[in-house]
Structures are given as structure tokens and as C-alpha cells.
């Protein structure tokens, strides 16, 4: 088999996507059947999640099946998704952003809003993005944390977590 056309590569990817979603749908449906009671009257609490699970299974089967049938077909280049980058660096960045957000939430609860925000901004800019202009990094870190704290916390009265690590 010679080089795959972009169209064929797309079909292979759809096959994988369809199969992953198929598994997700089956697992979801299984959990729904195992944990949600059917209810006592009318359309109970189980019905909707169940129908959605079955729907997902059916649709992802169609997606995967269609892609399988077209795997050696011929068609237009589907074009890209409008997103930048490919492969490992992108995957790494997805994980990093996810972790930054989660760590921000965790820190906010523990170290309080001000410190958590300053740390998150500084870490993202300096370590993750490699920004080396000290004034920009410091300005953003202090500006974002103190700015939001002043405007929303003090002036507008929004609740900002104080954290449990520091006694003030």
C-alpha cells in the first residue's frame, strides 16, 4: 500500500475516534444500568442517561463504520482543524494547561487567592511559556492578583478564598 492521502488518514482517525466513543458509550450505558434506579413513576431518572448512552453507541458505530468503509476511498482533503501544532509538544501542552488550572484551584483553597494567583501567573509565564522579561512577569503576577483582589474582592464584594495555610 502506498502513501495514504490526507483523506485516507482522516478516515483512519475517524475510525479511532468512533471506536473510542463507542467504548465510552458502552461504559456509560453500563454504569447507568448498574447505578441509577429506573424510578417509581413516569419517565424515571434512568431513562435519559440511558437513551443518551445508547444514542452515543449507535452514532459512534456509524462514524467508525463509515470510516472503515471509506478507509481506502478517495476524497477531498478534509482540511485541518484550525488548531496549531501536532504531536507530542501539543499533547504536553494540553496536560500542562490542565495541570496549571487544577493546581491553581488547589492552591486557591490552600494558600488563598492572592498567593495562588500570583504563583500561577508567574509559573505559566516564566516556566511554561519561557517569558523572560522580568517586569512583564512580575507586573502580570502582581497586577492580576492584586487587581482582581482589589476590584472584585474589596470594591465589588465578591468572595475570594482566604486559604487555610496562612492564618490571615
Amino acid at each position: 500500500m502506498s502513501e495514504r492521502t490526507p483523506y485516507q488518514a482522516e478516515q483512519r482517525r475517524d475510525l479511532v475516534v468512533g471506536l473510542v466513543l463507542l467504548v465510552l458509550g458502552i461504559v456509560w450505558t453500563g454504569i447507568v444500568l448498574a447505578t441509577i434506579p429506573p424510578g417509581n413513576y413516569g419517565i424515571g431518572p434512568r431513562a435519559f442517561p440511558l437513551w443518551l448512552g445508547v444514542g452515543l453507541v449507535a452514532l459512534s458505530a456509524i462514524l467508525a463504520g463509515g470510516a472503515w468503509l471509506r478507509r481506502n476511498g478517495d476524497g477531498e482533503d478534509p482540511g485541518d482543524s484550525g488548531l496549531a501544532g501536532m504531536g507530542w509538544p501539543v499533547f504536553r501542552m494540553v496536560v500542562l494547561v490542565c495541570l496549571i488550572l487544577a493546581a491553581y484551584g488547589f492552591l486557591m483553597q490552600r494558600a488563598g487567592f492572592l498567593l495562588a494567583t500570583a504563583l500561577t501567573v508567574a509559573f505559566s509565564l516564566w516556566v511554561v511559556l519561557g517569558e523572560r522579561r522580568p517586569f512583564l512577569v512580575a507586573g502580570m503576577a502582581i497586577g492580576m492578583s492584586v487587581g482582581v483582589w482589589l476590584v472584585f474582592g474589596q470594591l465589588l464584594g465578591a468572595y475570594l478564598p482566604r486559604g487555610t495555610w496562612l492564618p490571615f
Partner: protein, 510 residues
């Protein structure tokens, strides 16, 4: 007329006007920042009203509500991240317009359409409050379900080519919203025995995950990929819409405003539904439907006039029946109560002056919001000069803070992180995100109304075809889905259809 004048003189006390102004600005700020919405702003405004008198208190709340609904378009257009769920439809064309360098035009059109929609809905409220209220009363669970499912059918138009992908996306959105405690039966669903998951997935949290996180990841990736070439700081021109642009869209705005008013008057629907339906309507009736999604002005005007018309629409059942349509108006209701106004049929008889006061406050709030936003456009667009990676870091913070402020729960930040990564993954494999947000927006209401209708009809499905509005919307839904599925099936099985990209069948000549 005398009443109006006496109410006017009563409303024009400096304190009341100042309260309306303050509320409007407060609302616009909360609305324009992704993650902060008018619901949060209104909850914060309630304690501020304790020390105010009735007129000023109501002015502050109304200003916040209206400002928050209008402000949502700012970040939709500039960042591609909606400021409030009601502004999610504005992203579809507002953001492409900004990318084309027409951010100020889009912002100007959005605020003009918003004010227009708000004022139209106010007029409807003044002239036909009883009529609209009785209309709302005729929308029982079955009719509301039909309307919502019709709203869901716009997925077909938002699927970006592949119907199967669109439906998958819609189902994923609906699935996400079933997590948590089922409000009707009190049953815990997909909570895996934890208390944390009983909160369920908040609409706003899902929205941040779908729009903001992919934006952040993409900006971070681009930062490395584009080899830090000197960032071309393009001069950001300020091009305000002219009256001619507004005139061209006049009837579209009128139609979308009326639509928004009607939808706002039906409890349990609200801004996002109105905005998406208006968007679908605009595309259907447009002379240039192919422009939609690429930066069509109509695609900004339609949702913005509709979502602001919802404010007036939602006031109708609130004032005349005492029924709040969403958490925001529920807070407005309790603020009215605490200041001695009991909404309901007696309000119009016992305190008509208060009603006129409310009308005047709405007009003033729109004037202030309009002036504030038009004046602000020059400053808002400066945001585009900020380097994208710095902006992305700021969005990380706003995501965290915004998600937290919804329910003061860290769980919501974790949810944004996890769902956001998932959303980015789906975007990569070209599952469209807009149907997901539609499923997320409509999911809880669709399930609730379907189940309630079935309980009321004792399990008889014909209830969905037993009244004029229900038949109309169910019929339209079946028509739309039927033709789309039919068309897609035909294109899949016919041997060779030129011009069908993604769904092109295996070519028989091979």
C-alpha cells in the same frame, strides 16, 4: 400618563439614577469577563440594596441584570470566549469578525442590537403584558419541550458539514448535564458515591471548558510554534457601525427581538436558547448564508438583539405572575420582595407607580449601558494589542476565578480543566463544539419538561402533538431533522456526488 410622569419624577432622584448607573457598569464588567455572569453580579448586588430605598434598590438590580446581559458580547467578540452563556452564539460570527480586523464594528453592532432588543422587549411589555403572560401560561411542559427540541434541532445547521459528528457532539453535551442529583426524583446520577459530584456540572463551567480552555491551549502551542517572530502589533482601527449598517438589519433585529421577548417570557428557557434560535433564524433568512461562521454581521446582530430582548420578556411573567425564569430573575424577585414589592397580578393594581418606575429604570439602564459600551469600544479593542500568550495567561486566571465564583467550589475549577482538555481533544478530531454547548444549555430543561409532560399525560406521547404550539415546533423539528438526515443519507449512498467533501462515499470506480 400622569402615573408615568409621577413615576418619572420619583425615579429621577439622584440616588436612583446613580444606582442604575452603578448597576449598569457593575453588570457590564461582570458580563464582559468570561466566567463572571450577571447571576453572580446580582447575588453580590442584593446585599448592597439593603441600605437603599425601593426605587434605588430596584434600579441597581435592573442595571446589573441588563448590563450583565449586554456585556457578554465583549469577550465573545474579542477573545472568542463568551462572557455569559447567552453570548455563546455571538462567538460564532463575532470572533471571526474580530480576526478580520473588524472588532470595533462587531462590538458596535452588538451593543446597538442589544439596546434595540432590550427596548423592543420593553415596548412589548408595556403594551401587552397580559397577552404575553397568558401566552406564557399556555406553554406547559409539553409545549416548552417542543420549543426546546426545536432549539436542539439547530444542531443540524451547526454541525459544520457532518451530521453524525454534530449529533455525537450534541449527545456528549446532553450527557455531561445528567451528572449530579436529578432534581425531580432526588436520585444521584453518575456521582460514584461522592458528595462533590452531586453538584453536577454547572452550565457556566461547561462553557468555560468548551471555549476558554481550547483557546488557552492553542495560544500556548502557537507561542512556541510560531518561533516568536516579532509580534506584528497591528494598528487597531476603531470603525463604528453607521446608521446604514443598522438600517440594513432593522427587520432582522425586530424579528429577533420579538422572538427573544417571547422566549424570555416562557419560564425555564432564557437567553442562550433565544440567542441560538435567533442565530439559526438569521442564517435561514439571510441572503448570504455562506458568510455565517466566517464573520457575518447578521450573525452578531441576531443573537445579541434576541438575548437582550429576553430581559424584557423574562420581566413579564416575573412581574405579572411572580414567576422567575432563571436564577438571575429569581434573585431579582427576592430583591423586589425584600423591598416590599410582591410581584403578581395584584402588583399592577396596587402599585402601578412601581411598575412605571421599573419601566423607566429599564430605559435608563439601556441608555447607560449603551453609552458606556460605545465609549468603551476604543478601550476594549486595545485588548487585541496584548500579546496572545499574556492574554492566555490572564484567561487562565479569569477561568479559575470565574469558575470558582459560580458556586464557591474548587470542584468547578477541576471540572474546567478536565472537560477543557476533552474539548480540545474533540476539536482536534473535528467534532464541532457548538452542538455540545447547545446540548449543555438545553439538556436539563429538555429532560425536565419531557418527564413532567409525561407525568401529566400519564405516559401518553400524544401530549406533544395536542396543542397548536407543540404541533408547530414538533413539526418544524421533524421537518428540519428529516430533511438534513435525508440529504446526508442520499449523499452517502449515491455513487458519485461532486462537491460533498467529508461524507463523500467510496468512489465506485476504484
Amino acid at each position: 400618563m400622569d402615573l408615568l410622569l409621577s413615576a418619572a419624577s420619583a425615579s429621577f432622584t439622584p440616588v436612583t439614577v446613580a444606582a442604575i448607573l452603578l448597576g449598569s457598569i457593575f453588570g457590564v464588567i461582570f458580563g464582559s469577563i468570561p466566567g463572571l455572569t450577571f447571576t453572580v453580579a446580582m447575588a453580590l448586588a442584593v446585599p448592597l440594596t439593603f441600605s437603599l430605598d425601593q426605587g434605588a434598590a430596584i434600579g441597581l438590580m435592573l442595571g446589573t441584570y441588563i448590563g450583565g446581559m449586554t456585556g457578554g458580547s465583549v469577550s465573545s467578540i474579542l477573545l472568542g470566549v463568551p462572557g455569559t452563556p447567552s453570548a455563546a452564539a455571538t462567538v460564532l460570527d463575532g470572533y471571526p469578525l474580530a480576526k478580520k480586523g473588524q472588532a470595533s464594528l462587531a462590538l458596535g453592532m452588538a451593543v446597538a442590537a442589544s439596546a434595540f432588543g432590550g427596548i423592543i422587549s420593553l415596548i412589548v411589555m408595556v403594551v401587552s403584558v397580559d397577552l404575553v403572560a397568558s401566552l406564557a401560561m399556555n406553554f406547559g411542559p409539553a409545549e416548552t419541550f417542543a420549543l426546546l427540541i426545536f432549539g436542539l434541532s439547530t444542531i443540524c445547521g451547526l454541525s459544520e458539514g457532518s451530521l453524525v459528528r454534530g449529533f455525537i457532539a450534541g449527545i456528549l453535551g446532553l450527557m455531561v448535564m445528567t451528572v449530579g442529583v436529578d432534581a425531580m426524583d432526588g436520585v444521584r446520577r453518575m456521582t460514584f458515591g461522592t458528595v462533590t459530584l452531586q453538584q453536577g456540572i454547572n452550565l457556566l463551567v461547561a462553557m468555560l471548558a468548551l471555549f476558554a480552555v481550547p483557546h488557552i491551549i492553542d495560544a500556548f502551542v502557537r507561542h512556541f510554534q510560531e518561533e516568536r517572530t516579532t509580534k506584528q502589533v497591528k494598528a487597531v482601527g476603531v470603525e463604528l457601525p453607521r446608521l446604514r449598517d443598522l438600517g440594513r438589519n432593522f427587520w432582522l433585529m425586530v424579528r429577533c427581538s420579538l422572538m427573544g421577548t417571547g422566549i424570555g417570557a416562557i419560564p425555564g428557557t432564557g437567553g442562550p436558547v433565544a440567542a441560538f434560535l435567533a442565530y439559526a433564524h438569521a442564517r435561514k433568512t439571510s441572503k448570504n448564508p455562506q458568510e455565517f461562521g466566517k464573520g457575518s454581521v447578521e450573525g452578531v446582530v441576531a443573537p445579541e438583539s434576541a438575548n437582550n430582548a429576553v430581559t424584557g420578556g423574562a420581566m413579564i411573567p416575573l412581574l405579572s405572575l411572580g414567576i422567575p425564569g432563571d436564577p438571575g430573575t429569581a434573585l431579582l424577585l427576592s430583591a423586589l420582595l425584600i423591598h416590599g414589592l410582591v410581584p403578581g397580578p395584584m402588583l399592577f393594581i396596587e402599585s402601578p407607580d412601581a411598575i412605571y418606575g421599573i419601566y423607566i429604570a429599564i430605559i435608563l439602564a439601556y441608555l447607560f449601558v449603551f453609552a458606556f459600551q460605545v465609549a468603551g469600544i476604543r478601550f476594549f479593542v486595545q485588548l487585541l494589542k496584548v500579546p496572545p500568550h499574556v492574554l492566555a495567561v490572564a484567561i487562565v486566571i479569569m477561568c479559575g476565578f470565574g469558575a470558582y465564583s459560580v458556586r464557591n467550589s474548587v470542584f468547578d475549577i477541576y471540572t474546567v480543566a478536565i472537560l477543557g482538555a476533552g474539548a480540545y481533544g474533540l476539536m482536534r478530531v473535528r467534532i464541532p463544539l457548538t452542538p455540545i454547548i447547545l446540548g449543555v444549555v438545553l439538556g436539563p430543561a429538555i429532560e425536565r419538561d419531557f418527564r413532567t409532560a409525561m407525568i401529566l399525560s400519564d405516559g401518553d406521547l400524544s401530549v406533544f402533538f395536542s396543542s397548536a404550539p407543540a404541533i408547530l415546533f414538533m413539526g418544524l423539528t421533524i421537518l428540519i431533522v428529516g430533511t438534513q438526515v435525508g440529504r446526508s443519507l442520499i449523499s452517502s449512498f449515491s455513487p458519485k456526488t461532486p462537491g460533498i467533501g467529508r461524507n463523500a462515499p467510496v468512489s465506485s470506480e476504484k
